[in-house]
């Protein structure tokens, strides 16, 4: 299993911030509008126009950087990154070069299945920049021209650059999932990868074990990964490919220029792309059209106050207060704040976090999936579901039948009590249960002998018979009584 190398991965994530308007003009950022209907003189780069920074975009960016434990610069400015591309109408992108508004943060990742140790992934910097437009070329149709839509040009993006701290494809995926969850909880981005609200580029190389120590291989940048799963697969593929190249060439970091490769999701391979221009070739310089931004301590502490409870703290609270396992808290927190609130209310009402967690994760979440709805559209309030949970806790109904009652409650909107009454479900007295067990034991000597010889699962047959006689019996309790009586024989 141990490989003769360590995988080194760093990720660059671009997220679109949830503003109504663009970063430097007041055109809409709404996705899906007809091409070139959301542009103005500023975002298509007409001469003489001036950009003005969107206050909300800066606020959302600041909030995110604070949540990522970044240092916030008290002075920040914007620079022009020059390159020619048809989807970049000004001939430069307004970005941040040497004085980003935030730097040196971290995000902690863990694996609910414990396949790697909890660790902090360093954040080198997060900076605020504008997006480019979109170019489309239909090679199949043999079109001579590419078509350009500038609706997206000028949309605010937060670029979050991690340290090369990830050591496996799994860690890379975990980092992305945790980052997306954090951004979703902060409400700063919808993180929709299909619509391009979240984009990922990866830098990967290997530290290969050699007789003279660890040797770093050339870094490759991987693009065009359209899902977190694609990132995971691309990183697995690249690690293998890097090792093969190393064995053939023994090229080290610095021997060749940085290569850019694109992930082909269908063929499951990466392919080489054009060589990236050196960063000095972008000829960054401060944008004279924008003034700097100074951030005060008061603004930073205001941003900190606006964070709310973040996923990591929320998981810990659910585990500590409601006694559920990290795996369960992870499922619940990943399902969103609404579901967590539902769970907490149900756990408090029923006084049993584990029971509440099981029902929310299985029955409630399944129903939401089936009905394609969110928790706030779900028919049963926690108080209503709790009535059913109470019936289970009282031994009035077993889990199997409770599931049937649940389905009926969701379908009809009736209360647990009403459904149970309609289905003739009532609690069977303890004395009645004991009597039934005694009858069954007397009538089934062979099964009793099996149980006595150590085959406890033979009791299942008796429980089956009991349920036929009276569907209301609680199988769990029945089993206890049967085993107890047989044990005393």
């Amino acid at each position: 299993m141990t490989k003769p190398y360590t995988i080194i991965i760093g990720l660059e994530v671009h997220v679109q911030l949830l503003t109504r308007t663009k970063l430097f003009c007041r055109c809409s950022t709404k996705f899906g509008a007809p091409p070139n209907t959301q542009t103005c003189q500023v975002c298509i780069g007409m001469p003489g126009t001036l950009p003005v920074m969107n206050r909300e975009a800066f606020k959302l960016a600041l909030k995110t950087a604070v949540a990522l434990n970044c240092e916030i610069a008290d002075f920040t400015k914007w620079d022009r990154k020059q390159y020619y591309y048809p989807d970049l109408p000004k001939g430069y992108q307004i970005s941040q070069y040497d004085l980003p508004f935030s730097h040196d943060g971290w995000l902690e990742i863990g694996d609910p299945k414990d396949r790697f140790e909890r660790k902090k992934i360093g954040i080198i910097r997060a900076h605020l920049e504008e997006d480019a437009g979109k170019s489309m070329h239909d090679e199949v149709a043999g079109q001579a021209d590419s078509r350009i839509d500038l609706n997206r040009a000028g949309t605010p993006l937060l670029e979050i650059v991690s340290q090369p701290d990830m050591r496996s494809a799994l860690e890379a995926k975990a980092y992305l999932s945790e980052l997306k969850l954090l951004l979703t909880y902060l409400g700063v981005s919808d993180c929709n990868m299909q619509e391009g609200s979240l984009r990922v580029d990866a830098n990967i190389n290997l530290h290969v074990d050699t007789p003279e120590g660890k040797v770093a291989t050339p870094i490759v940048e991987v693009k065009n990964m359209n899902s977190f799963r694609a990132v995971e697969r691309a990183m697995e593929y690249e690690a293998g490919r890097h090792y093969q190249v190393w064995q053939q060439t023994h090229q080290r970091l610095g021997d060749v220029p940085k290569q850019t490769r694109g992930w082909d999701d269908v063929a499951n391979v990466t392919r080489g792309q054009r060589h990236k221009e050196e960063s000095s070739d972008y000829r960054y310089f401060p944008d004279p059209d924008l003034v700097p931004v100074c951030v005060s301590e008061a603004q930073i502490s205001e941003a900190r106050k606006s964070l709310g409870e973040l996923p990591a703290a929320l998981r810990t609270r659910l585990e500590n207060t409601h006694g559920i396992k990290p795996y369960d808290s992870d499922v619940l927190v990943s399902a969103g704040r609404g579901l967590v609130d539902y769970f907490v209310e149900l756990a408090e009402l029923s006084g049993d976090g584990k029971l509440a967690s099981n029902w929310v994760q299985q029955d409630v979440m399944r129903t939401l999936n089936e009905q394609k709805i969110e928790i706030d559209q779900f028919r049963l309030q926690p108080t209503q579901l709790c009535e059913l949970l109470k019936a289970i806790q009282d031994g009035q109904i077993d889990t199997g039948r409770a599931r049937e009652v649940f389905i009926e409650m969701v379908a009809s909107g009736k209360s647990a009590g009403e459904v149970m009454e309609a289905q003739g479900i009532e609690k069977v007295d303890e004395s009645e249960l004991v009597e039934l067990c005694q009858e069954l034991i007397a009538a089934n000597p062979k099964i009793v002998a099996d149980i006595r010889s150590g085959k406890q699962q033979a009791a299942g047959n008796l429980i089956g018979q009991a349920k036929k006689k009276n569907p209301n019996v609680n199988p769990g309790r029945l089993r206890e009584i049967v085993l107890d009586l047989v044990g005393k024989m």
């Binding site: 308007t21 070139n36 542009t39 103005c40 920074m53 070329h137 021209d145 590419s146 003034v291 700097p292």
Partner: protein, 96 residues
Amino acid sequence: MSLTREEVEKVSLLGRLQLTSAELDLMTAQMGQIVAYVESLAELNTADVEPMAHALDVSNVFASDELRPSLERAAALANAPHHDREFYLVPAVLGE
């Protein structure tokens, strides 16, 4: 300090300017003079001067996130050399 011909060649490539050999010579000389002129600032002692990021002593200028009408598409496309009434058309961009 003056510019080399190679430097001017590189800058013209980055700026997508196709210069003839004679133009390159001319630009090398003229741009060299401009750089040398700006270079004279280096004679000043700026040890106690705080660097500025902007010519104006102004900071924190923001606009509120309120939607304003965009251009009509026809107006936006009007200055484009080629368009199909929906998109700007440009010479084929392949790869990536």
